[in-house]
Amino acid sequence: MSEPLKQADIDQEIAARAGEQGDHPARDYAPYRSTLLRHPHQPLVAIKDPEAAELAGPVFGVSDVTPFDNDLTKQHLGEPLGERITVRGRVLDRQGRPVRGQLVEVWQANASGRYLHQRDDHPAPLDPNFSGVGRCLTDDDGNYLFTTIKPGPYPWRNHLNAWRPAHIHFSLFGTSFTQRLVTQMYFPGDPLFPYDPIMQSVTDERARQRLVADYVHDLSEPEFSLGYRWDIVLDGPTATWMEEGR
């Protein structure tokens, strides 16, 4: 067995890639070791067919989501442990138009940094009152809202002493298959940001900041929750917008 990589080795690799341009991370971002054998070497092949099926929207939806699905604190009989938060924001396209009636899904670790998953063996307690899964549809203005608890940071095996900053995973449908986005929302001021190769894979500083929610005191609810605001802008071709968006 070779020596495990140290944080200093990863830091050097992160520094070497810092400042590269691009809104999305490169798939060959070596500091995140799992990318090594999982990125294609051949260039992507451009599709220029205006009839391409991918320019239409996947139908998953309206009748599949109930009004209770967006409160992750109400899925069990008891209250989950941790800091109760509400996360709000708008889903927009690149022209700033609301993406309406589309599915937003979230999943996250509990307050101790443990996922409800067989393969998460991080020695932190599971919370019997928290599953960490939520769904909602955006409203007519593109708004979404989740009530949940703040997830904890957790260790992983990318390198020695690798710890993920606290984050909530987001899955977003758009009005076309090509607007599909899976991303992660981070919490402001987390001291783990510079050490995390997954977050740092977004090498452009301004782009990376778009992954971080704002704490907004006015959105905190008295004697209930701390409020965060995170707006999401979906990529994808401009040809797909519909006046009557689903």
Binding site: P25, L44, A46, P58, H117, G236
Partner: protein, 174 residues
Amino acid sequence: MNPTPSQTVGPFYGYALPFPGGGDLASGGIAVHGYVYDGAGDPVPDALLEFWQPDEHGSLTGSPGTMRRDPTNGAVLGRDGVRFTGFGRVATDLDGHWALRTVVPGNGYISVCVFARGLLHHLYTRIYLGQDAFLDSLPPERRQTLVAVEERDGVHRFDIHLQGEKETVFLDFG
């Protein structure tokens, strides 16, 4: 406006994104199945595949949801198995295998979106069930990576290679 950057789906989406019957777009049609492999030729056990396709007649307007819920606790019970939505979602199993039950798409291909731990930005590809002008535009050795092999009547095999000699053609929609 600038887009929100993509991030990996991670290894622990498993209880959140896949749902019972996620690969059952329609019954009584065809089966499409295969494996996802990494650059070392090893199966990828933590990939998530999404599918999108028209019905037999080419229509992309499916039913707006067919999911049944447990009225007591809200748990997802799976699809009703009758109405066609055109959307499928399947996680690979520990062998890197996935399977889909569907109908032959009227446009000749099933669109695929690939997510996995280690993939910072998802990848698109297509499963072709027959000949097509787009396939003809590709070099012959690469063209084959987009064409399903009919293993037996109504059962089609389509493997996805993320990297390496057999690397699948991945698509860019601009």
